[in-house]
């Protein structure tokens, strides 16, 4: 086995994280087959409203009589889809800008990096909320808002690597044999920045699930009857303190999923960043 992977395999917290992530991904893919009541994504059964957890409904039922266990399972797909779309779009914006700013000098590079500074100077949640609000509350604007506030992280990473490599001998050599800028940047510089990008993307997936849940909770994301975790917790508030299970389990799902990505991301970062590796 590759020595880097072997080192990762010995990191117990990272392996716990990987296991959680794999389980969540499986649940997201197989959700409709795993959930005991897959129809409860949308259906309602008013006769069995707000039942506490039992064998038939391990996490209880909600105010419309839907099985919360099924809805927590079904919510995984949406959470992962949103996170992947957001991080994917943020990478699609951030990485080319970072390559450009790092590889070229001049006004445009300077501008890109200043914009990064300003965007990063405001907590992501606030900026995303403002942006989503301006665009009109919907799941699409929430996702777009999250991407538009997350890309600078990728730009900064790629910028640093592009700057470093631009001065290196092998890029000179590539110029010497007549390679074009686009080719050098995408085929030779980008692969060198790939590990910090993977680390940031992993942590970003967890972070986005959390922020998206906040947006959902505030009614700025998913809309009923979607089995969104954040939205479910918001809906549960009317039925507290009696229906405690209504709020408890979706929150645990968020906690575990985000923890999985964070533990895995931390483990990967320890591999990539030797300075931190030493202190672990």
């Amino acid at each position: 086995m590759n020595p880097v992977l072997r080192k990762l395999a010995r990191d117990v917290p990272a392996m716990i994280g990987l296991a959680i992530v794999l389980v969540v991904v499986l649940i997201a893919i197989l959700g409709p087959w795993l959930a005991p009541y897959p129809g409860d994504a949308t259906a309602s059964h008013l006769l069995r409203r707000l039942k506490p957890p039992t064998m038939a409904f391990p996490f209880g039922t909600d105010n419309l009589g839907r099985d919360i266990y099924s809805r927590v399972i079904l919510g995984a797909r949406g959470a992962l889809q949103v996170a992947m779309a957001v991080v994917g779009l943020a990478m699609a914006i951030g990485i080319p800008l970072g390559l450009l700013a790092g590889y070229r000098n001049g006004f445009f590079s300077e501008l890109i990096m200043r914009v990064c500074d300003v965007v990063l100077a405001i907590p992501q949640l606030i900026l995303a909320l403002a942006l989503a609000q301006m665009m009109g509350p919907s799941l699409q604007s929430a996702m777009l808002a999250l991407s538009l506030t997350y890309w600078p992280f990728f730009t900064r990473i790629v910028y640093a690597d592009a700057r470093r490599l631009r001065e290196s001998l092998f890029v000179d050599a590539l110029h010497g044999i007549g390679a074009g800028t686009g080719r050098i940047v995408f085929l030779h510089i980008l692969p060198n920045a790939i590990s910090p990008i993977i680390v940031r993307a992993t942590i970003g997936l967890g972070f986005t699930i959390l922020t998206a849940a906040v947006l959902g909770f505030l009614g700025m994301g998913a809309t009923p009857p979607a089995p969104d975790w954040g939205l479910t917790i918001a809906q549960s508030r009317l039925y507290l303190p009696d229906a405690w299970w209504y709020a408890l389990y979706p929150g645990l799902a968020i906690l575990l999923t985000v923890m999985g990505f964070n533990l895995l991301g931390d483990g990967l970062r320890d591999l990539v960043d030797p300075r931190l590796r030493r202190s672990r």
């Binding site: 403002a130 009109g136 549960s236 533990l263």
Partner: protein, 336 residues
């Protein structure tokens, strides 16, 4: 020192201008006509045109920006569509409560986070360290709004230890408003009944808000301690008979907290942002709660003002962070 401060303030000015541009673009990049939403659904085209002219929406973009910047510099953010009062007045009134909550959370995060981080480092790779690592990841991974609800469920509704919401019981006469913070005002006016009441209201929100930051501080302190403990001077200090308590808590810790101080700086902005949700759940009369109302009612002036305010606070805190780092490690001041 003065030179360092001036230099640092100088570099902050472009960021502040950028912040103005960004918030300005936020309004204008959106493909909806602000005049239409201001005028309301029933407005005639003539009314819309009048409003457009009145607010200057028909001027060239750069003139609109200058007008916006000029107003922002004078703390003029227009009127809230929700409360029909000046936004800056609304914010000024709510800011003390938010600062009270943020500072209480900060004190909790730092006061508990740093000792836990030191403890974790001293037990490096033993089970307390392992446990703290997992718990600190959980602290960042948990949704604050969910924690808030769970704490309310258990500690207020079931056990009845702490009040459910607000910053003072409805039947408690508020102290004379001096600073705007109920805790401070009740102390200043000698109203100890109100002080106790306010303190018990503060506990749950502050604990909720402090969790994420505490985790970050534990992690950074731990990493800093582990790095410092390997330094030659620690071995030297042991060899020269420094008592172990003072060695760890004074001589090693001060070398380890520079990264933690950065973290505390970042935390301040994060706490204000996190406070948005936490304040609304605990019905805390601060800026965050106000922001949530603005979000729900689509009050753009308020959203913009809050975004700008947080950006400015963030920039100021960053400068202060650099300054504190310089005071801790004098080598940094010279390098700057």
């Amino acid at each position: 020192m003065t030179r360092f401060l001036l230099l640092r303030v100088g570099t902050a000015i472009p960021s502040l201008i950028g912040l103005l541009v960004l918030t300005f673009l936020l309004i204008h990049a959106v493909p909806s006509d602000p005049a239409v939403s201001l005028a309301g659904d029933a407005a005639t085209p003539a009314q819309i045109a009048a409003i457009r002219h009145q607010y200057g929406f028909d001027l060239p973009l750069w003139r609109q920006f200058l007008a916006y910047a000029w107003k922002a510099l004078h703390f003029d953010f227009g009127e809230s569509a929700f409360s029909h009062r000046a936004v800056s007045l609304d914010i000024a009134q709510r800011l003390p409560a938010t600062l009270e909550l943020v500072i209480a959370s900060l004190v909790l995060s730092v006061g508990i986070g740093i000792p836990l981080g030191v403890f974790s480092a001293l037990r490096h790779n033993q089970w307390p360290d392992f446990l703290l690592r997992i718990v600190s990841v959980a602290g960042v991974a948990v949704a604050a709004f969910w924690v808030a609800i769970m704490l309310q469920l258990y500690f207020s509704m079931r056990l009845g230890w702490f009040p459910l919401r607000g910053e003072l019981s409805p039947d408690m006469a508020p102290p004379l408003r001096i600073t705007g913070s109920v805790i401070l005002d009740s102390l200043l006016t000698g109203r100890f009944d109100a002080f106790g009441n306010a303190l018990s209201h503060l506990v749950l929100p502050a604990v909720t808000l402090s969790l994420g930051g505490m985790s970050g501080i534990v992690r950074f302190t731990r990493a800093g301690m582990l790095e410092t403990l390997q330094q030659d001077f620690v071995a030297y200090e042991r060899a020269m008979g420094y008592p172990s308590g003072r060695l760890i808590w004074r001589y090693v810790l001060r070398n380890s907290v520079t990264a933690t101080v950065t973290q505390i700086g970042l935390l301040f902005g994060g706490l204000i942002a996190g406070g948005v949700v936490v304040e609304s759940i605990y019905d805390w009369p601060g800026v965050g709660n106000y922001t949530v109302q603005a979000i729900l009612t689509g009050d753009r002036q308020v959203m913009l003002a809050v975004t700008l305010m947080i950006g400015v606070i963030y920039t100021i805190v960053n400068i202060l962070t650099d300054l504190v780092q310089g005071l801790i490690d004098p080598r940094l001041l010279r390098r700057a």
